[in-house]
Symmetry: none
Subunit: 419 residues, 2 copies
């Protein structure tokens, strides 16, 4: 199956937003064995929409469009689709009920524009949008499937996951494709590649490896293709075991949706332990990553973001002499912060961060990117100095994940038998 | 001048990288009055490259391509261009000297592949790449300008800034395009559209409006096109003033890069005021948004993320009877949290949040999405109940921005003369 992705709207063409939707859709289609050979962006102009739909439906088996389904006057995708497919708009009652429910639950009145959101071309199969008001649409045109989705990323993702990907998987069943994603942290890509070179050379035919780097991890995606599901699964599991032996300390997750915060959270839950955090330069990012996990209240007591030195002293109980003598960005202060928050919040473990996120505040001795991280466990308090690169945003995020990873490594050491 | 941008290569089509080049090029072309009405990605396949070049050069005045100029075997852009334009490859001596110099300075040996990088189609004007090894290329085909650039972002940007943009600016002096972006928060898109309908109908010819919704704001983008820069600027400024009068309470930013946190931060800095935050369900997100701003230590003292009730009592000083009587998600507790953190951190203002982010923890009376927000100012403490939709991630983010917006509105009220 050969697919094209089309985004409709001005935002991308004037460069105001980056088209992340197409990349996400392309990666998901790839996972189920559908090849994407065209991505295009066009404006909200009827003739452009109709002309491009004609071209793409002639050439591809699948066309996924995003955007142009909003309630405002610049959104003309539905009317253009009606013209192209030759049908009229009708109300999708399930969507209307959903829209009414949505507005009622938020205590908002329903306007004509909202009601119009439930209109869809008669010749499509509407897909109920549980995250928003604009339904998705599934069309069949000659031998081509055309799917139209809203441009708001989480609405598009919701519809893709609930309807579009499962259906396409069923239609495209010639081969078994299995992906396995492993998460690494702490080794730059080129070093990781060197460490894995020998293992990679030994991969059997049919298994391929991709590096997917991001600021919070480098994911390794193994893709195995074959005719027999059992064999494909066995061969990929075998390679994962070999890989584990090569880089045990850098691998932290073995499931697609694992994150550093979910892995650390699972370890805390498993050992019935609690955590609190004292953050200076990471400014709440460590807490935010931890609490982004559903159920994190099971193990997370809370945190103190101590930006002002007075807060470090009065709320965390850091000795003011330490701050004066060593500065806030120091081993002495970061360890005192960890101990302070652990004591104040009666936790088993604590993390503390203190550094220079920039762009201002750097000195010759402590340049931007300098970061002290402390971990306090039931048995020991330790700290480590890191030098991170990049801009403020990256330093904060990398710093927060590095802190979680330090806690993870400590917990592994202290609980070898549990994990 | 009407332009298309074309990226050549597999990385984008398999979703491994997001196409940030096209957004950057589009925004730069827009700034010099060149309209982009097509962005497309195609694979490294000769027939695709030639077919797409044919289509685009027939329809557009300018085609900018990126990618496919690397030294490896999958990069075939130059050969495909030779076929399309009907010419052969020749050495660009200036580029060869540059490549030799580059390798010498890094102490690396020069390979045949590197030397081949200096080959360009004879019919192009080569553009020296000072950041890398692949030269850019400037073609003229009938009435269309075709520019080919490497896909590595900083090499592409270097060539655009040194050669392409200055030349295009000189060629394209017919029209002026000005964009103005305004940020709104608090009104759903459809309500905003209704409120703005009359104003929008009154927009003069040449000015258009687009809605750009995201979880943290709805941006309104006004685009004005004309021949005379002064007139275009005046006419767009005039419309912005009219718009301000229609939705004063929902407009919070008037510059492209404004965010709720930057606007609130500027207000705090301007009034010499300090802020602290007590977060329950937002879990550090309010703090994280505030501290993402460079220089936020000027006004942000710190925060307490109080997940456990014991932390609310012991660190924030919330009366345990309030928690027992009303529950943690209540007006009484959230106001006590705001007062508690304001007192503990000696701040002028405080924000507090307490709610149910889900997916668990909801009850009939306090379902997932229930959120109490309190603001405490030097003169008053107030709170408000919100009902937010969406998943955990969205509730946390929307809740945090809603809290910042509540502080903003309060500060506007208390400092009418300052803002």
């Amino acid at each position: 199956m050969n697919a094209a992705i089309l985004t409709i709207g001005q935002e991308i063409l004037i460069g105001q937003i980056v088209d992340t939707n197409s990349a996400w859709i392309a990666s998901q289609l790839n996972l189920i064995g559908i090849n994407v050979s065209r991505i295009a962006s066009i404006p909200d102009v009827e003739s452009d929409i109709i002309h491009t739909l004609k071209q793409l439906t002639e050439k591809f088996d699948l066309v996924i469009t995003t955007g142009g389904l909003g309630p405002t006057s610049d959104d003309i995708t539905k009317l253009s689709f009606c013209k192209f497919f030759g049908c009229k708009l009708v109300t999708h009652h399930e969507s209307l009920t959903q829209i009414e429910h949505l507005f009622k639950s938020r205590g908002l009145p329903l306007t004509d524009l909202n009601i119009q959101q439930a209109l869809v071309p008669e010749c499509c199969e509407p897909l109920l949008n549980r995250q928003g008001t604009a339904p998705g649409m599934w069309f069949k045109h000659n031998d081509c499937i055309v799917v139209s989705l809203p441009g708001v990323p989480f609405e598009m993702i919701g519809l893709m996951q609930e309807f579009v990907l499962p259906r396409l998987s069923q239609l495209n069943v010639t081969q078994v494709i299995i992906h396995k994603t492993l998460h690494t942290f702490g080794l730059p890509e080129s070093f990781l590649a060197e460490r894995l070179a020998e293992w990679e050379r030994g991969l059997p035919k049919g298994i391929s490896l991709a590096y997917l780097p991001s600021p919070v991890s480098i994911r390794l995606r193994l893709t195995s293709i074959g005719d027999n599901r059992g064999q494909v699964e066995e061969s990929i599991d075998d390679q994962v075991e070999r890989l584990k032996a090569v880089i045990p300390e850098y691998l932290f997750g073995y499931n697609e949706n694992d994150t550093m915060a979910s892995v650390v959270g699972d370890m805390l839950r498993k050992t019935n332990a609690t955590l609190s955090v004292a953050e200076s330069c990471t400014g709440g990012m460590v807490s935010q990553l931890i609490t982004s996990m559903p159920g994190s209240s099971d193990y997370f007591n809370g945190s103190v973001v101590a930006y002002a030195n007075r807060v470090k002293k009065e709320v965390l109980g850091v000795d003011k002499n330490l701050i004066e003598k060593y500065g806030a960005v120091s081993q002495e202060v970061v360890e005192a912060m960890a101990l302070g928050v652990k004591r104040a919040m009666h936790s088993d473990y604590a993390i503390a961060t203190s550094g220079v996120a920039g762009p201002g505040g750097g000195t010759l001795q402590k340049p931007v990117g300098t970061l002290w991280i402390a971990i306090s466990s039931p048995t020991l308090t330790m700290s480590k100095l890191f030098k991170l690169g990049g801009d403020r945003e990256r330093i904060i995020l990398r710093g927060a994940v590095t802190a979680l990873n330090m806690l993870r490594l400590r917990m592994v050491e202290e609980n070898v038998k549990s994990f």
